[in-house]
Symmetry: none
Subunit: 342 residues, 3 copies
Amino acid sequence: MSASQAREAASPLQLCRIMRPDDANIVGNVHGGIILKMIEEAGCIVGTRHCNTQSGDRGVAALVRVEKTEFLFPVFIGEVAHVTAEITYTSKHSLEVQVKVMAENILTGAKKLANKAALWYVPCSLQNVDKIMQVPPIKYASAEQEEEGKKRYEAQKMERLETKARIEEVVPPPPNPEQHTVGFSQSSLIHLVGPSDCTLHHYVHGGVTMKLMDEVAGIVAARHCNTNIVTASVDAINFHRKINKGCVVTVTGRMTFASNKSMEIEVLVDASPLMEKGKEKYRAVSAFFTFISLDKDNRPLPVPPLKIDGEEEQRRFEEGKARYLHNKAKRLADKEAAAHQN
Amino acid sequence: MSASQAREAASPLQLCRIMRPDDANIVGNVHGGIILKMIEEAGCIVGTRHCNTQSGDRGVAALVRVEKTEFLFPVFIGEVAHVTAEITYTSKHSLEVQVKVMAENILTGAKKLANKAALWYVPCSLQNVDKIMQVPPIKYASAEQEEEGKKRYEAQKMERLETKARIEEVVPPPPNPEQHTVGFSQSSLIHLVGPSDCTLHHYVHGGVTMKLMDEVAGIVAARHCNTNIVTASVDAINFHRKINKGCVVTVTGRMTFASNKSMEIEVLVDASPLMEKGKEKYRAVSAFFTFISLDKDNRPLPVPPLKIDGEEEQRRFEEGKARYLHNKAKRLADKEAAAHQN
Amino acid sequence: MSASQAREAASPLQLCRIMRPDDANIVGNVHGGIILKMIEEAGCIVGTRHCNTQSGDRGVAALVRVEKTEFLFPVFIGEVAHVTAEITYTSKHSLEVQVKVMAENILTGAKKLANKAALWYVPCSLQNVDKIMQVPPIKYASAEQEEEGKKRYEAQKMERLETKARIEEVVPPPPNPEQHTVGFSQSSLIHLVGPSDCTLHHYVHGGVTMKLMDEVAGIVAARHCNTNIVTASVDAINFHRKINKGCVVTVTGRMTFASNKSMEIEVLVDASPLMEKGKEKYRAVSAFFTFISLDKDNRPLPVPPLKIDGEEEQRRFEEGKARYLHNKAKRLADKEAAAHQN
């Protein structure tokens, strides 16, 4: 590799696109899933490019984890979303990409930070997808920067080891469920994996899966409130198993918890190979999405309480509440820390 | 209206498009739903254009019925599908469009007739979508031609009056269903209606709905046989109720009957307005799709028998069998009639 | 506008995307129309952003002309296309955007210059689309740079004044045309303008129109040679009239000239408002596309001679030949000039 190639491999990648009507809901808010898909595309490009700056097998960066992501500002039709992705840490077999999304209104010049995300990739060899390639090290601006990256790496590694895919079964809702119950808003979509879902190898891009997950979660939220809803945040997602071309994926969303201002929806992704006899359906990913309800001026609306039925739902509600309180406390602590720094 | 406009309105419409990878399944067969969507787009354009050649309200041709449609030859990625649509009959408030699909292999020059369809449209006023506009009469080449059109018109009118939307409930399959049972292959998808799904008056194009129906039916068929499956035919479809922007549609397919060479799948489409409180879910369309299973050389494969459980499934199986035998007899009669004519 | 906004408005815009299977033909070559659409999107963003750095009406940069564009290298599925757009000249009411497309193979690190283009935009007020807004002046690096921009501006202005839209009628081909005649490969497609075709106002983006034109021209070329064909160049295109939402566009391609290595295809775009009575179909754009035929190793193949029938075809053939010889001479002269400079 030439010196200029190495410099480039480490340099950030910029990607932008005008948001179209098809990217948004009927009041013009761009779906969170569209943003997640763009983020992952940028991460995949910058990661794949970096891993191929060495000799040996060619490989593709496969998404294994997305850290908790907050949607800071809604994006609208006609705005330009600018996505910047940069490799911020490399371990022997994985790399971290940090991504920032700015939304620009090109009619007024106004800009806002819409999103920040951190993604972890591992390079899979194209010759043998089960082989994880080595990742060429990046250069850090300072020893401190490397040290912090290492901490993030250790933390996510621990979490990935501890967190198994949620193996809970999807139970179909009872017939004629009452409004505001879990069964009332539970929704499933199925999607037949197409060629454009898996461009570089024969596996579905993580971004495609996240877009489907956000779509189902949004339908669950809208069914619960009958208002305009938007993605507020997504908890860390671990991509346990790859989804192959020729699979049909079933994406199910069910509400686990609602505070008076937000809803937590658990999304479970199951893949089943359509044309391979005897191959069983398997759980590929699971995640928790948080949605909020907005009025026509984009101000938060109260969320109807979630009616709980049975022990299982009660347990999931308590767990969701714990996550909600934990996140709330963390946000407060972060705010205070920031205030002290100033 | 100028003379040239009148000529244009009455003249057939030609539309063509290269079939792309995303239009097809993994072995390269273009989905029947893609063809149905193209057919309906051509019909909608030719119908809308014709209905606006008069003064008064502007309107959009809304699909109310598709006659039984046979898929004669599979279409492949890279082929060009040519769709020709022509208005063949007009009553006071409706019009018939006949559509032909030729598939052309542009590498070899080979052409084949892939599909023929007949669609009925009524013009809805843009000022008030519940108002049906009058249809300007077309000129017929002969009195005989008009007479035949009138017969087709009367026949479909009678059938539409007689046929109610199937009101049968969708029952979720039991947990862990046995292979080759109805519950094993039953599938549902949900789709949030987007701007590109809708016509100029904010209602879902009939072709978009048919594409979703074919998609679900195809997944049901593939789950039953685990082979490459293709749409063989679609029974007449009546579009009872319009689907509005901002709805979520649930499309469910379940196998009703299987002969040793084909599968009949009932597809039920339910719409629920997401943001209008108190508006109930309603059945918008229902239809029967027939699929066949093909080997890698596109030759028919035997279909595993359908395991029936319970009275309801038995009744649907008998009804499906009756339709199957009726269609088979009709095909034979048509063939003989054709032979006698020659 | 703040100082930082002004700096940004003048700074180049970067846009990139992985090429997907749907962007390409069956041998994996990305369609020229996909590249043209990306180029125009980048130009529209950078132009619209610049024109809104002043106070007064908000406006959108509408494409009025694309200079002759050469496709230097084919782009493939899986490659990342990087589009860089920069404003290079501003007159009182128009601006020039120069765009460069680099294709990067992220598996090998290889990069190639795929395309260079120059586009002219005028800003239309959103309050009144028939009002052309003033364009804020850019700063030039040198007086020479400004002088050269002015020359390009004058040259294109003259050409736009001289060049009328080709008013030639589209004549349907005869039934059963002989192979390699003009009628044999002539093709038309129609497209109903949808919301995502016109994101920022109610008019179709120039890039959407160019994509459709390239699609039809590609079908004409493939029908003539029955081989893998790619876009080699597009002659300057003037966008005479805007195309409104709710129109149906008919795009027709017919071969005008073939040398032993290339084919010239004339593409005519007609728009007809579907629902406005009395509004006639009108010619919106016309252009000449040049295609070449490639073997499986992407080497040029000979093109079958075009069989000419009648005076009209003969006249168009002679005109096409003149353009072909003129372009060839110009390429040679450019090459020599470049050689002399070194």
